[in-house]
C-alpha cells in the first residue's frame, strides 16, 4: 500500500495504470504499464475497455459508476481526455478523514 511508485518513465505510447483499495484487491494488480489499444480517448472509453478486458478486470469494472479515476494525480470525470495521461489511477470513492 505504501510501495514506492515506479519512477521509470513509461516508454513511447506506454501508460501506467494504478489500482487502489478494493479495485487493487479484485484485479490483483497495484500497477501495470501498457500501451492502450487505439480509439480510447476519454476516461469513459477506458472504463468501458476495462469492463471488456476479461478476467479479473471485467468483474472489477462491472459497475463503472462506483469507480473514480485520476489522471496524473488529478481527479478526472468520465468525459475527460486521456491524451496527456502518463499515469491513470482507478479507485473507489475516497473514505479518509
Amino acid at each position: 500500500m505504501t510501495e514506492k511508485p515506479n519512477t521509470e518513465k513509461p516508454g513511447a505510447g506506454e501508460i501506467v495504470l494504478r489500482y487502489f483499495a478494493w479495485l487493487r484487491e479484485r484485479t490483483g494488480v497495484s500497477e501495470e504499464r501498457l500501451t492502450l489499444p487505439p480509439g480510447i480517448l476519454t476516461v469513459g472509453d477506458l472504463l468501458l475497455w476495462q469492463s471488456q478486458r476479461g478476467h479479473p478486470f471485467d468483474q472489477a469494472f462491472a459497475k463503472p459508476e462506483a469507480i473514480r479515476v485520476a489522471i496524473n494525480h488529478t481527479h478526472a470525470k468520465p468525459a475527460a481526455s486521456i491524451a496527456s495521461a502518463r499515469e491513470i489511477a482507478f479507485f473507489p470513492p475516497v473514505t479518509g478523514g
Partner: protein
Amino acid sequence: MSVRVSTADFDVSEEMNRLTAGNTEIGGVALFAGKVRGDVNGEALTSMTLEHYPGMTEAELERIEGEAQRRFELSTSLIIHRVGELKPGDNIVLVITCAPHRKHAFAAAEFLMDYLKMYAPFWKKETFASGATRWVDARESDDEAAAAWAAYSE
C-alpha cells in the same frame, strides 16, 4: 501551510505550538482530530487500515489547503493524515487552522475536513473481531457537505 502523511501518531500540543510560535496576529486556533471508533453499527472493530495514493494524496491536500487559504482569512494551517494499521482510539487525522478571528478558524477547519473527506485519496478498511474485513463505503453526507461549500462560494 503544510500537509503530512505518516504512519506515526501526532502530538496536538506540539503541532499547535509550532504553528502559533511567534505569531501574535493569531487570535483563534480551531482544530479537529478524527479517531478510530471501537465499533461499527454494534460490531466490535479490532483494527482500521488506511491505504492512500502516494503523490496524489499530497497534491490533493495541498490543493485543498490552498483553496481554504483563498476562501478564509487564515494565518496558517496544517493537515496530518495517518496511514497503515490503526486501533480503536487511535488518531486518524488532524486539521489545525490559525486565524486572526475565530469564525474564520472554525469555518476553515470544517471546510478542510469536508473537502479532505471528499477529495483526498485515502481508503479505510475495517477488520472486525469476527475476522471479517470490509472496505468503508463513502457516505453521501460527506459529498453533501462538500457540495454545500461549493454552493456557499457562488
